[in-house]
């Protein structure tokens, strides 16, 4: 990589190249300082976040336009037990043998922005195995594939919005954003609410990961308070004697648009 010219530097002084963690960390800090100086406490990630290299040509440059949700947008697709077998919530039993790694349960509730449970709705997850490897033809990480682990799960939420997956704790994995770039361990989550406007795809992280500060995807959410909402909590009451460790993670979707009069009505 060519050296970056940094204004104000003396000639001959060492310049971190753009491919280094130092350069990426500096870009993370700059974007966060920018939001802070404008008083923006961001709840969603910045789409324009130069430290995440792949975002450069893929973020819209115009502000999203205001739209009042109408018709189809005020309801969500319906999924049910026709779509999902209850066994799909256990990622450790899909291949006949026991996958290698730390067996965990991830459980929580899906709520809407007003605190109401999202009932009977689809939750999809996917993740790397314990060694940080995905079963994906484009994953080139030279870590072992686990023949007993695909890393895909689905569930339908209960009446109280609850979901629960049994899985293996995923490993961190390297990626090509910059030299020596590693993603903190995470599980990808896909969620629907009661309105299409609530659609959410995100990632759940594990408490205390030393890679948090270095990761441009996680840090694209420039407010610490908002970032914290992606981190599960270790919960000893969810852990099971001589069997697995438990994590709790509640998910809050954006608010719905039904007015009290429309409540319970269907289009």
């Amino acid at each position: 990589m060519s050296e970056t010219v940094i204004e104000g530097r003396e000639a001959g002084e060492a310049v971190p190249d753009r491919d280094s963690q130092a350069a990426v960390s500096a870009e993370i800090a700059a974007a966060q300082a920018d939001d802070e100086s404008q008083g923006i406490a961001r709840i969603q990630p910045r789409l324009d976040f130069p430290a995440y290299r792949s975002a450069a040509l893929r973020h819209p440059t115009k502000e999203p336009r205001h739209a009042d949700p109408e018709g189809i947008e005020l309801v969500a697709p319906v999924f049910g037990h026709r779509d999902v077998d209850p066994l799909e919530a256990d990622l450790t039993i899909q291949r006949g043998g026991e996958p290698i790694g730390e067996r965990i349960r991830i459980a929580g509730r899906v709520l809407d922005g007003d605190g109401r449970p999202v009932r009977g709705q689809l939750v999809e997850v996917w993740q790397a195995n314990a060694a940080g490897r995905y079963i994906h033809k484009r994953d080139q990480h030279p870590a072992p594939v686990d023949p007993n682990f695909t890393g895909v799960g689905r569930a339908i939420t209960g009446d109280d919005g609850s979901y629960s997956f049994v899985t293996i704790k995923p490993g961190p994995y390297p990626w090509r954003n910059h030299r020596n770039a590693w993603r903190p361990a995470h599980v990808h989550f896909s969620l629907f609410g009661t309105e299409f406007t609530q659609r959410l795809v995100t990632q759940m992280y594990f408490p205390g990961d030393p890679l948090f500060a270095l990761d441009p995807i996680y840090q694209a959410i420039t407010s610490q308070q908002a970032r914290d909402r992606l981190v599960a909590t270790y919960d000893h009451d969810t852990s099971e004697h001589e069997w697995l460790l438990g994590y709790r993670w509640d998910i809050v979707l954006t608010g719905t648009h039904a007015t009290p009069m429309e409540e319970g009505e269907h289009v």
Partner: protein, 200 residues
């Protein structure tokens, strides 16, 4: 920073802070796409239409790893409430579809043209866009090119200048199919939406 105007009917709603989004990443292909996700109705069904296009980046280059979802009423404008999108019964229209883009950035759904959900309203398909490099999902609308009168009176389209408006209206191709390109950035960038109660 609230995006909700003070006089909005939504302003009074107290809220929990939502969980932030994150990119779908590059490795969703074995998890999210499902069999016949792109076929809301089987190809060849009388009255079916192909909705297709290309997803491109700020250099106009194809985005080969985007994921698109559509959600729409049926041909009569009815919002159906049917499960089964993930395990399709060819006889049941669920209104939901999901597909990934191909190596050339192209995508294609087979569906029915949505009807108007209320008299005189402009029929549209709701679409969400996900991709590696895209840190959060994007919402947009795919409007049918007809009827012109409904498009004229549509609140969202009326709020846009002609160039922006054109990005939301599908083009009727010679073979009757609907073409809708998604330009993530740059020239003729697709208009993406923010609904009330969606924070920055």
């Amino acid at each position: 920073m609230s995006e909700t105007p003070a006089n909005s009917r939504y302003a009074a709603a107290a809220g929990l802070a939502p969980t932030p989004g994150q990119t779908v990443g590059p490795f969703y292909h074995y998890a999210l796409p499902f069999a016949d996700g792109e076929h809301l109705v089987p190809a060849g069904t009388p009255g079916s239409v192909r909705l297709h296009g290309t997803v491109t980046d700020g250099h106009g280059a194809p985005v080969p790893d985007a994921l698109l979802e559509i959600w729409q009423p049926d041909a009569d404008g009815r919002v159906v409430r049917e499960p089964g999108s993930l395990r399709r019964d060819p006889g049941v229209f669920t209104g939901f579809g999901r597909t990934q883009t191909w190596r050339d950035g192209g995508y294609s759904f087979t569906t029915v043209e949505p009807g108007a959900t209320s008299a005189g309203s402009a029929p549209f398909i709701a679409m969400t866009v996900f991709a590696r490099g895209l840190l959060n999902r994007l919402f947009t609308r795919v409007y049918l090119p007809e009827p012109a009168a409904a498009l004229e009176s549509d609140a969202l389209l009326s709020s846009l200048d002609q160039a922006d408006r054109d990005t939301l209206v599908a083009v009727r191709e010679g073979d009757g199919s609907l073409r809708f390109d998604v330009r993530l950035q740059g020239e003729r960038e697709t208009v993406f939406l923010r609904y009330p109660r969606h924070e920055v």
